[in-house]
């Protein structure tokens, strides 16, 4: 896609955009889970973000987008030695993809035709240093989701099969989307996504008209439309780059740690992942806003997306967990 729909031109869906920008600032936050209706711009946002992100330096032809020649994995037969600029990779993982395609497997073609034992890199390798986007993640087979989350967390893909023993870096931001009415994710998996947001079709006419207007303008003149939004996109890009630089310098006051713990205790979220993600997301938010230290406002801004999917929930409880988080935030952070 040469002209992706500009990220800044997406109408509304602020929580989703915010979550994606935060992961672009600090990939360590973990993946983003976007749950909601069809046709709400989930995939558009992912592609738009990729187009907006600064390019990466990678060795030409390297299957895992290695940064320098020294870091190319030894199994990869990379002849080129040039380091080129590449757009941030965004890899789609289609439903029904086999484990072989995802993690990589023995290269059958080489094995049968030439009798060589070679490794054919999978989608995880291609997504290294970028984004892996899974539409309808809730319909993906459980064992694949397990595998993906494992790799996303460890940042390394280990393949031990068919006489191959191979490992390569696979650091990517996992973006999953889906419609909860068509099936749910196991709570264990929910917990391992860093952030989660709910998107809904806009309900008021004005917003809907605005969406249609922009989309139609984009269709009629791609290059022109992208150009007219280039400035807004560039502003976000700049903010992300500045925030990345500022991130290590953002201070974390003791009181904020206390707040994080108090909040997670009040919500009864399991484990410590909630606190950690909340803290990282708040830090990224602070860096994005140009603050020198994390404040309660930053916590407030990210608490719903960092915690709403971690509540120990009654499987039959339909009340929105986002509402519960907001309520707790109000009572704890007074």
């Amino acid at each position: 896609m040469i002209h992706a729909f500009p990220f800044s031109a997406i109408v509304g869906q602020d929580a989703m955009k915010q979550a994606m920008v935060l992961t672009a600032i600090d990939a360590g936050i973990g993946g983003v889970l976007v749950f909601g209706d069809r046709g709400t711009g989930k995939s558009t946002a992912v592609r738009g973000l990729a187009a907006l992100l600064p390019t990466i330096q990678a060795v030409k032809g390297c299957p895992v987008n290695s940064e320098s020649v020294a870091t190319i994995p030894d199994w990869a037969n990379v002849i080129e030695r040039d380091v080129v600029e590449k757009p941030t990779p965004v890899v789609d993982l289609p439903l029904g993809a086999t484990e072989d395609r995802v993690v990589g497997a023995l290269d059958i073609e080489k094995a049968l035709a030439k009798g060589e034992k070679a490794f054919e890199a999978g989608l995880l390798a291609r997504a290294n240093r970028g984004y892996l986007y899974i539409d309808e993640v809730n319909l993906l087979e459980d064992h694949l989701v397990d595998l993906l989350l494992d790799v996303a967390q460890s940042g390394e893909n280990v393949v031990e099969r068919e006489g191959l023993s191979i490992r390569h870096p696979a650091r990517f931001v996992l973006v999953g989307s889906g419609n909860p009415e068509e099936g749910e994710l196991r709570p264990q998996l929910l917990d391992r996504f860093g952030l989660s947001v709910e998107v809904k079709s806009p309900k008021d006419i004005e917003t809907r008209v605005a969406v249609i207007k922009r989309r139609d303008a984009y269709d009629r003149d791609r290059a022109g439309f992208v150009k007219s939004w280039a400035k807004a996109d560039a502003a976000i890009r700049k903010a992300i780059i500045t925030a990345r630089k500022r991130l290590p310098k953002v201070k974390t006051p003791e009181a904020v740690l206390q707040d994080c713990a108090a909040l997670c205790l009040a919500l009864g979220s399991d484990g410590l992942r909630g606190e950690l993600t909340l803290l990282r997301a708040a830090r990224a938010q602070a860096a994005f806003e140009g603050a020198s230290e994390i404040t309660r406002d930053h916590l407030r801004a990210v608490a719903p997306m960092a915690l709403s999917h971690r509540l120990r929930r009654d499987p039959l409880d339909e009340a929105g967990s986002t509402a519960r988080v907001i309520r707790s935030v109000e009572t704890v952070l007074v």
């Binding site: 439903l95 059958i108 073609e109 035709a113 909860p180 749910e184 806009p202 006419i205 008209v209 249609i212």
Partner: protein
């Protein structure tokens, strides 16, 4: 409602508009059983698109056919890699036959290919017999035109006629066509009134209106173009009637031509904000004329299936060669995610090496491996369990212990959730039974349906069991292991034919119960009456089911009993 002639005319027009520039419209969702009307239509598609032959794909198409890949048998025969081109790499319309059988994975791939906007368009031919199956929304949402050939008789389906030179002119003219300033707003409001949430629909309508204007040779989209777009794109997607008084709508079919929109604007005003304009009302009227008369009935029928699992007719297939306990590999071809068992393949090839090197001296070095040597891995996996709850919602139940029965179901649901079972819900009351929910894992849905469950009327036990049995067969066909949990408090008093005949009713119930046992479906009968009902244990025996009177059962023993009665697969 429009006549078949008018509908056929509309289809003719729709195809012409589609042919002007297929790619931006995404494609056509064609609901049609095999018949002359469909054949004529596909035939004329060839003419109007000016293609020699339309590329066809089928639901079981493999990835290498879609995207191109290595031709394994040709590669083995020649000893060098031979690649094939994929159908998605060529622009132009594709016909997806038997679209109702397409799996989520294929739909997702096709949807992604359409989103890439490389000139691809898809004509999905859906032969679904039942509203509960049909093309999945992942794809249907991306196709602008939804056409239904149902009810168009042979005599009406004449040859479709197209003015090809005019279409070519329109194609050239299309980039110049402008939309009016308020078109998008009008269409948004119509979509709102029809209960269409997806914004893609509005967007498609906007594009189709431009196609229509181009066909007219106009530079500006006018009201008739919008009206046509509403009729062809928005009306088939309606999920509600524009007005909320459905009764009045049935006997007063409004005329499609709106000469005086103002006269109707007062009573026909949809429940949006107060500033909508006459053109919107006219458009809504146009949409209403196109709505199928049985819209509400159809919606009710599709809702149960649609909301449970994205509405495809296929279920979770058993992936015989992906995971589970490994079993012996067998010969077969690669593709479709099958994994090569290298050792077994080599073992199969070894005995022939001597012979083959003699017979094909051109390839002296290396192993000689033929297609027949390939062995693929196989795995055995146990299937998912589907628990079908058959709930008695008759008068006596509703009065006495409905709440407790619901409590018991919720308890079982929570159990099912923990084990990732599929859950289906059948309720029987009055004169028949309803499938409230096809097998799903979404508990939110199940609980909502349960809460909405109305009560009252007779006890058509046989009908409830019959629906459950059908559902059980269906889920077994989809690779699940069904079991039935029947919750009732009384004896059957409505027979299968709907008559209130107690003797016949209990004979029917007994027969259905035996049928359940005959199919070998594990079952449990939970007696929700205030005291154990006489005769229900006999029915349980007929079903080969465990009988459990609820009065004596607390939550714990209930779940234990269900666990014991419906064993894990």
């Amino acid at each position: 409602m429009t006549t078949p002639q008018e509908r056929w005319g509309n289809i003719n027009l729709a195809l012409a508009l589609f042919a002007i520039d297929p790619a931006p419209l995404g494609g056509i969702w064609l609901r049609a059983r095999i018949g002359p009307a469909r054949d004529r239509m596909i035939q004329s598609l060839n003419n109007v698109l000016e293609t020699d032959i339309l590329q066809r794909i089928h639901p079981n198409i493999q990835d290498d056919a879609l995207y191109g890949g290595l031709d394994m048998s040709a590669s083995l025969a020649t000893g060098r890699p031979v690649h094939t081109a994929g159908v998605l790499q060529k622009p132009g319309p594709l016909v997806l036959t038997m679209a109702e059988r397409a799996e989520q994975g294929l739909l997702a791939r096709l949807g992604t290919a359409l989103d890439a906007e490389q000139g691809l368009s898809i004509i999905a031919v859906d032969e679904a017999a039942d509203p509960s199956e049909g093309l999945g929304r992942a794809l249907s949402d991306r196709l602008a035109l939804h056409l239904d050939l149902d009810g168009i008789p042979h005599s009406v389906a004449t040859n479709l006629e197209f003015d090809l030179p005019a279409l070519r002119e329109a194609r050239a003219h299309l980039p110049l066509v402008q939309n009016g300033p308020d078109d998008d707003r009008d269409l948004c409001m119509v979509a709102e009134a029809l209960g269409i949430t997806s914004l893609r629909a509005v967007h498609h309508a906007l594009r189709l209106a431009r196609h229509s204007a181009a066909l007219m040779g106009a530079d500006q989209v006018e009201q008739p173009d919008l009206q046509l777009a509403v009729e062809l794109v928005l009306a088939p997607r309606a999920t509600q009637l524009p007005e909320h008084s459905a009764s009045e709508d049935q006997d007063t079919p409004p005329p499609p031509e709106m000469s005086e929109p103002d006269a109707h604007s007062d009573q026909d005003r949809p429940q949006t904000d107060g500033e909508d304009m006459p053109p919107v009302d006219a458009l809504i009227e146009a949409a209403k004329a196109m709505l199928p008369p049985d819209l509400l009935a159809r919606l009710a029928a599709t809702r149960a299936a649609r909301q449970s699992k994205g509405s495809t007719g296929t279920g979770h297939k058993k992936k015989g060669n992906h995971r589970g306990r490994p079993i012996a590999s067998r010969s077969g071809t690669l593709g479709g995610g099958a994994r090569l068992d290298l050792i077994a393949t080599l073992r199969a090839a070894v005995p022939w090496q001597g012979l083959r090197s003699v017979s094909s001296p051109k390839k002296p070095k290396g192993l000689h491996i033929r297609k027949s040597d390939l062995r693929v891995k196989r795995f055995q996996e146990s299937s998912d369990r589907a628990i079908i709850f058959v709930v008695d919602a008759s008068g006596s139940s509703a009065m006495s212990r409905m709440a407790e029965a619901k409590g018991a179901i919720e308890l079982l649901l929570a159990e099912a959730y923990a084990r990732r079972d599929h859950v289906a819900l059948v309720a029987f009351r009055g004169h028949g039974s309803d499938v409230l929910l096809a097998p799903t894992r979404s508990l939110v849905q199940t609980k909502r349906r349960l809460q909405e469950l109305p009560g009252g009327g007779g006890t058509p036990l046989a009908s409830g069991l019959k629906s459950a049995l059908q559902l059980a067969r269906l889920s077994a066909a989809k690779g699940m292991t069904p079991s039935i949990a029947l919750l009732t408090d009384g004896r059957a008093n409505i027979a299968l034919d709907g008559s209130a005949n107690r003797t016949q009713a209990s004979a029917d119930a007994q027969q259905m119960a035996r049928a359940v046992r005959g199919e070998g479906i594990p079952a449990i009968v939970i007696d929700t009456g205030a005291r154990p009902t006489r005769g229900l244990d006999g029915l349980a025996q007929d079903m080969g089911a465990t009988y459990l009177p609820l009065p004596r059962a607390d939550a714990k023993s209930l779940s234990a009993a269900v666990e014991a009665a419906l064993p894990l697969p």
